[in-house]
Each structure stands twice: as structure tokens, then as C-alpha cells.
Amino acid sequence: MEDFVYFFTFQDSSIAFVVIGIILLGVGSAYVGTYSFLDKKALLGDAISHAVLPGICVGFILAGEKNPLFIVSGAFISGALATFLSSWLNKSTRLSEDAIIASILSIFFGFGIVLLTIIQKSGNPEMAGLNQFIFGNAIAILESDVYIYGGLAVFIILCLTVFQKEFSLLVFNPDYGRAIGFPMGMIRVTFNVLLILSVVIGIQAIGVVLMAALLITPGAAARFWTDRLGVLVILAGTFSAISGVLGTYISFVIPQMPTGPWVVVFLSIIALISFLFAPKKGVLSRYLSRRIYLRKTHRDHLLKLLYKGIEANKPGLPIAEIHEAFPFQKTQTKQSIGNLSKDKFITQNQLVIELSSTGRSEAKRIVRLHRLWELYLNEYMNIAPDHVHDTAEKLEHLLTPEMEELLESRLNFPKLDPHQENIPRD
């Protein structure tokens, strides 16, 4: 608890610096990543983040120490090389894109690990901590490094904001962009540069292995909550910043604990919550709306049953008979009866159930839709009368009043359905 208060009150200015840095880089990479997620190029980000490792090592060898400038430039160059190679191979060979990306990722990363091992064997005392580039350690970032990483993050955010319309065009409809004369090739290159930069700024804090998660997961999680690009980007940035700060906190409390994996853990929790609980697109919400729908169909079927009773000169049906009509659905049937009497669609007299006047016109409506649809299938689509019942059974719950009107006028207000049953109207 003490740690918690100490960390989040920012008494230590170096912590405040690190937190600001991680928020900036989180927002920046989530911003770029959201576009590449929408562009269905999520794997490219993963390839780039693995591909920067050899560049980091070469930068280190050339500088002889952990000089951020050398390391950032090295990482950028090898990331750019990987990006260029993958798009060149895509254009000039018949290899599929996933094969190209998988090979580039493993070749560059493998080469990077070889270099890293060589450096570690060299006995250079400066090499301690180079391992941190694999999984990241936000707490170990020096104040001077924060300026570089944070500055680059601000640059990325500004670029994306200025070029918002160009990048949206790039993702949504690049052919149209070319048709109106925009230099789509240059815009693609600019975007790739920003993508590489966003990987580069994350290597120290998050590490090369998991940087892709910080690019893609925030956008993917945010997509569950909104359909608006502006909101999407802001949500993704927020998710990423929250996970970044929490991951840094863990690294602070437990020394030697890498930041990257913890950031990914928090991001995954956010993604999981979005996947389960987001309104409309979440699993729970979809499950609930299906249940509500199924309940309504059951209710409709019960009303229909009662109406058919009236047609057969039985104004009321005993409860036992209703239960018999819906075998294995006892609880549902009870629920429907409860709901319908609450809505005053039915009245219960001892053990006999009768339709009220409102219930009767609602039941008529459902039967009418069912029979209208049967007639439509039979007359307009030449489907035999004994084949029309099943789809009508499903569509009677879906057809809107406008569709009903259309059916009535198309079929010229018919009296009988294909089974010679009366089409009831009020």
C-alpha cells in the first residue's frame, strides 16, 4: 500500500517522468496500431517489432554503450529494412503475405538473438541490461531517454492527427485516393515510418517481443465499444495508457520484473472485459438479446395456440393442455404465461386460460403475419403449400408493420392462406 501511494503520488520525480513517458508511448502506439488494425495489417506490426532487435544490437556494438540515439537509429533502420523487404517480396514473388511476414519475423529475430549472444560473450561491462530490450523495463528508463521516446511519441501523435484524412483514405479506399491524385504510395511510406517509430519508442519500456500487443490490442478492444473513428482512437489510447502505467507500477514494486508482459496482462484483461461486456457487440449482450428474442417467440407461439383454440370453438384452454403443446419447455411456458397475464394479454380463470381483447388482437396479428407470409411464398415464389410453414413460423416474429402493409397490398388483402385458413383482421 505504501508503495502504491508512493508511486501514484509521484513524489519521486523520476517516477513521474517514466509515467509520462509510458502514457505518451502507449497513446502513440495505440493510435498507429488502430489504423494498422483497421487496415488488417496487424501482423506487420509484429514482424517489425521483432525485426528491430538486430538493429538495437548493431547500434550497441557501434556505440560501445547503451547510447539511446544509436539504439533508436539502429532499431529504426532494421525495422525499415524489414518493412521494405516484406513489401518488396510481396510485389515481386508469388509468396503469400503471411509466409513472407512469418519468415521476416523469425529471420530478423533469430539474427538479433545471435548478435545479442555475441555481445554478452564479449564481456563489455556496459552490456548489462541489454536483455531488457527483449521484455522491456520501464523503471530502468533514464530521464534523458524519456525525452527521446516521449518526443518521438508526441511526433507520432501529431503526424497522425494532421494526416487523419489521408490515413483514413489509405485504409478505407486507397484506389479512390489514387484516382483523386493523392500520392498514396508516399502516404503508405509515411504511415509505415510512423509504425516503425511507434515500435522503436516502445522497445525500452515494453520490449521487442511484446510490442505488437501494445499496437494492436488497444484498437481491437476499443472496436467492441464504438463505431466512430474519433472515439475509437481515444479509447484505444486510454486503454493503452492505463495498462502501461499499471505495468510500470508492477515493475516498480517487484524489482527485476519486466514491464512488457505485465502491460500485456492488463491489456488482455481490458480486451477480455470488452469482448464479454461491451454493449451490442459483447458476448453477454448478444447472448441476452438472443434470450429476450427467444422468450418473445415463445410468448407469440402461446398466443397463437390460444387463438387457434378460439378458431376451433374453444374460447379457453386448460393450463395442462397448453403445457402439452410445448413439451420439454415447462419453465419457459410458465414464464410466458406469467408475462402475458402481467401484460393483460390473457386472463386466468381457475385452471383455464383465455385471451383478453388486447391479447386477442395481438394473437390475430401474429397469425395474420404467419399466414400472409405463407401465401406470399406460395403465390410469388411458387413454393408448395406444404413447404411454407417452417419459414413463416420464424418470420412472423420479425416482420415489421411496414412489411405487413406491403404484403397486404401486394397480395390484395387476401381472405385465405394456402391451407384455406382464414387470415384474421380486426
Binding site: 483514413s168 483514405l169 479506399n173 479512390y176 464504438t226
Partner: protein, 262 residues
């Protein structure tokens, strides 16, 4: 039957286009008058979309050239508007109808600048012309096929061009929308614009267009309705692929390089 015109709005000279080095268009050579509603007809895989893309510079020809208003494409780009196929984009992209239509104003706006009030008004006017102004703030993922098509047409109207190239604007559109779009295109040509439309339905095409381009890997006909829309030319266009052309295409594909490339 190829009718050439004087002072053409569009001139295509010996255009050959290949994909993966196998040619999909052979030596197309035609010229088109302005102010007409022009239909491009042909069977599946005849190269109709490719012809439009080649005119817009979206695919590189392996031979020949295109001239618009007697100039190159780059010189007159702002006078030309392109409507891509509806299926060519992902409609799940998070954008509103108005966002998409405003893309039509980007060409004149140029890079960096953001669309402002003027662009918004122009886009709303274009939406009104296709009867979609009530949908301006709707997400594009919620639109039906016909509505998506109308959004694309509104976007191209917002460009305020003189020549319109539309790739299958009637695909996946219900009858009422098709008639409405067609009326709009007729109004546009009456106002002096030229509209070139890739179309798949011969029966409705007869009533719609005043000039026809018939394609089947090569140009079968280009001319006014009376001369180009004949039974003989139709059967030539739709009567199966030309055997020899297809065989040559296969032969070229098997080469390790593109022998047609300049």
C-alpha cells in the same frame, strides 16, 4: 463496329493491359463523344473494370495510352470522378456516411487541409441528390447494398467533375434505386456531363444508354445505340470467350517474364 468521333472527351489508343503478365485487354482503340450516357457491356471477366481502372491510372497498361479532354490524366484529374465497385472496400470501417461523401472533396482540398463548412455543405447537397441526406450521420456498416452504392455516387458528385466513370453502380441495387440512379445520371448528361458506366444487365442496358462499348477481352463494338446494339454484335460479345485469345494468354502466363511489357 467501332465508331470514332472528332474532339473526343476520351481517347483510348491501342491499350493493352495484363495482370500477372497475362493480358486481360487486347488493343482497345476507341474514342467517345461528350455529354453521353455510355454503357460498358460484356460477360464476366471481359475486362470491363480493368478498362475503367486503366483510364483512371490504377493499373499500368503494358501498351497504348489514354487521353482525356485531349490531355493526360494528371493534367485533368480534377475534372474526372471515379466510382469504384462497392465490394472493393470494407464497409465495417468506422466512418459515417458524411465522412465517406466528404472524401469527394479531398481532391480539390489537397493534402494537409481538413474539410470545413463549405465541404460539408457540398457533401450534404450531393447526399440530397441521391436521396440519402437523412442518413448523413449513420454508420456505413449499417447501410444496405443499395444505400452504399448511393453513398459512393454522392461522393463522386461532391467532386463536381465533367466526366464520371462508374464501376457497376447498379450491382446489388433494388429496382426502385436503380431507376432513381438512372434518372440522376440522365439529368447529369442533360447538363453536359459525360457518364461512363460498367453494367452487367443487357436487358436494362438497352433502355439506359445512348452509346455502347462492348468488350470481351478485346473491343467488339463502340458506337451509338443504333449501330452497336445489334444482335450480331451481342452474340459476338457474349458468345463465349475467343478461344485463340485465351490460349495465347495461357502461353504468355507460362513465360517467366512478361513479353508484352515495353
Amino acid at each position: 463496329m467501332i465508331t470514332q468521333v472528332k474532339n473526343p472527351i476520351l481517347e483510348i489508343h491501342d491499350l493493352t493491359v495484363s495482370y500477372d503478365q497475362s493480358p486481360v485487354l487486347w488493343n482497345v482503340d476507341l474514342s467517345l463523344p461528350s455529354g453521353k450516357l455510355i454503357g460498358i457491356l460484356g460477360p464476366n471477366g471481359a475486362g470491363k473494370s480493368t478498362l475503367i481502372k486503366a483510364i483512371m491510372g490504377l493499373v499500368d497498361p503494358s501498351g497504348g495510352y489514354v487521353k482525356l479532354f485531349d490531355k493526360t490524366l494528371a493534367e485533368v484529374r480534377s475534372r474526372i470522378s471515379y466510382v469504384p465497385q462497392r465490394e472493393s472496400v470494407d464497409w465495417n470501417f468506422p466512418a459515417s456516411v458524411l465522412d465517406v461523401v466528404m472524401m469527394g472533396t479531398y481532391g480539390k482540398l489537397g493534402l494537409f487541409k481538413r474539410p470545413g463548412k463549405k465541404e460539408k455543405e457540398l457533401s450534404m447537397e450531393s447526399l440530397e441528390k441521391v436521396g440519402m441526406h437523412g442518413f448523413a450521420n449513420r454508420q456505413i456498416s449499417e447501410l444496405s447494398g443499395g444505400q452504399q452504392q448511393r453513398v459512393f455516387i454522392a461522393r463522386s458528385l461532391a467532386q463536381n467533375a465533367d466526366l464520371y466513370l462508374m464501376d457497376e453502380p447498379f450491382a446489388g441495387v433494388d429496382m426502385a434505386t436503380e431507376t432513381a440512379i438512372f434518372e440522376l445520371l440522365k439529368e447529369m448528361t442533360a447538363a453536359g456531363k459525360t457518364v461512363i458506366v460498367v453494367h452487367h444487365d443487357i436487358y436494362s442496358a438497352v433502355n439506359y444508354f445512348d452509346w455502347f462499348i462492348m468488350l470481351n477481352l478485346h473491343l467488339v463494338a463502340s458506337g451509338p445505340k443504333e449501330t452497336a446494339m445489334t444482335e450480331e454484335l451481342l452474340s459476338k460479345t457474349y458468345g463465349g470467350k475467343l478461344n485463340l485469345l485465351t490460349k495465347v494468354s495461357d502461353l504468355i502466363r507460362q513465360k517467366d517474364f512478361n513479353p508484352l511489357k515495353n
